[in-house]
């Protein structure tokens, strides 16, 4: 009872004290008072405010950069050989944390070192981005492997209704010349020989060369330009 009466008198006292402030102050006095309160608030809480600022900025930057680094392809860990990049260690136990995070986010099962090797290319030999509007010749040598496949893919899912008749060539089905070399022509228009249609009418495309049961997976450094297929741009629409 005593406590209740004290709260009630306190509430009444607060109301009576606040009431004149609302009635008597002019606009200038009020803004000055608000400014003073704000300044005092900043002075009193500046330490807390800066700590909160540092925490918020740190968390936002850290999370955003981690998302950016792991949302696309592998950011690090590849070996560049001409236009191709070999990804030997993305599936290994000692893979770098970025590759493991990318694999986890995509649900990818990368090729193990004893199983095969993945090479990707997003540019031609001159360094220009592979474009679906152009025609390319891919051919020459392939590193030693028991079997290989050369696949093409674009960004985004392929519409099942317009699925191209062919997405890849395997080492068994590719047509070879008399000297055992081959040329795969990639383009929108039908070509004679080994024709790989473009998966999309426009936009960037990527090539993936997968070598199965290959000794080079353990020694990617031994690969050079002459042992991987050359990618030559023949022309653009």
């Amino acid at each position: 009872m005593n406590a209740l009466s004290r709260i009630m008198t306190g509430a009444i006292g607060a109301r009576t004290r606040r009431a004149p402030a609302h009635t008597d102050e002019s606009l200038g006095e009020r803004s000055a008072r608000i400014g003073g309160i704000l300044g005092g608030f900043l002075r009193r809480t500046s330490r807390t405010g800066f700590v909160l600022y540092a925490l918020a900025l740190g968390a936002a930057l850290g999370l955003a950069s981690a998302d950016f680094a792991t949302s696309g392809g592998y950011p690090v860990g590849g070996t560049t050989i001409g236009a191709w990049t070999a990804w030997a260690k993305t599936g290994a136990v000692d893979a770098d944390p970025y590759s493991r995070a990318v694999n986890a986010r995509r649900g990818e099962i990368p090729l193990a070192i004893g199983e095969g090797l993945l090479l990707t290319a997003a540019t031609d030999d001159a360094g220009r981005r592979l474009d679906a509007a152009c025609t390319y010749a891919v051919g020459g040598a392939v590193p030693p492997a028991r079997a290989w496949t050369l696949a093409i893919g674009g960004r985004g899912a392929v519409d099942p209704a317009t699925k191209p008749i062919r997405e890849a060539f395997t080492s068994t089905e590719v047509l070879r010349e008399a000297d055992d070399r081959f040329v795969i022509t990639i383009g929108q228009e039908v070509q004679s020989g080994n024709w790989l249609p473009m998966p999309h009418p426009r936009g960037p495309v990527r090539l993936a060369l997968r070598l199965y049961d290959t000794p080079v997976a353990a020694s990617v450094g031994s690969l050079d330009r002459s042992t991987v297929p050359a990618i030559t741009r023949l022309g653009c629409k």
């Binding site: 968390a59 694999n103 995509r106 095969g116 395997t170 089905e173 199965y212």
Partner: protein, 203 residues
Amino acid sequence: MSTRSRFILATLCALVLAGIVHIVTVRAIPYFAEGDAFSLARKSESLDHPLRIHSLAVPGTPTPPQGWLPVPDPAVAVGVCAYDLDDGPMRVSARVSSLNLSIAVHGRKGAFYAVTDQAAVRGSLDLVIMTRAQFDEALASADENQVNRDVRIVAPEREGFAVVRVIAGLPSQNAMANEAVDAVSCSIDAPDEPTDANAKPDG
């Protein structure tokens, strides 16, 4: 300390913190991911053959359902077998056919073993994935006079999955490649002294 220098100090602290958050997040993603191969492969744990996650299209049959591999090789059929070594050693056996077959064993951290059908002895490839304790037990109880053709692999972790890949060199081999993945058996190795309770065939 002026407000300006406090602000600069706070920003520098934020950058250092951002670096720490970045590293911790990237390292934590594999453990918290729900759409990763390790988690998705768990569905195959109750099967005695690989769960096909990428099937090759065979003309005249319905289009195979899309698996969860982001960019699968269009000429390779893929299956996964998840294991939990608490249930016993995992035996993966494959028969060699004319198609190239490879088996890789993945833990949470990545592939720790891979073998192709070239390692097969007399047309069959037998992998036994076991823990260190199970491996020691198998060595201790091994019969000296009996030739063992199993490839024994000590797994670094209790859980993981085996991946079976079969390459169809020609589109006409697609059906064969799908069947070759299904024909691989993934079974829990029965204990050496089977009792009536657990002597039921599981492979």
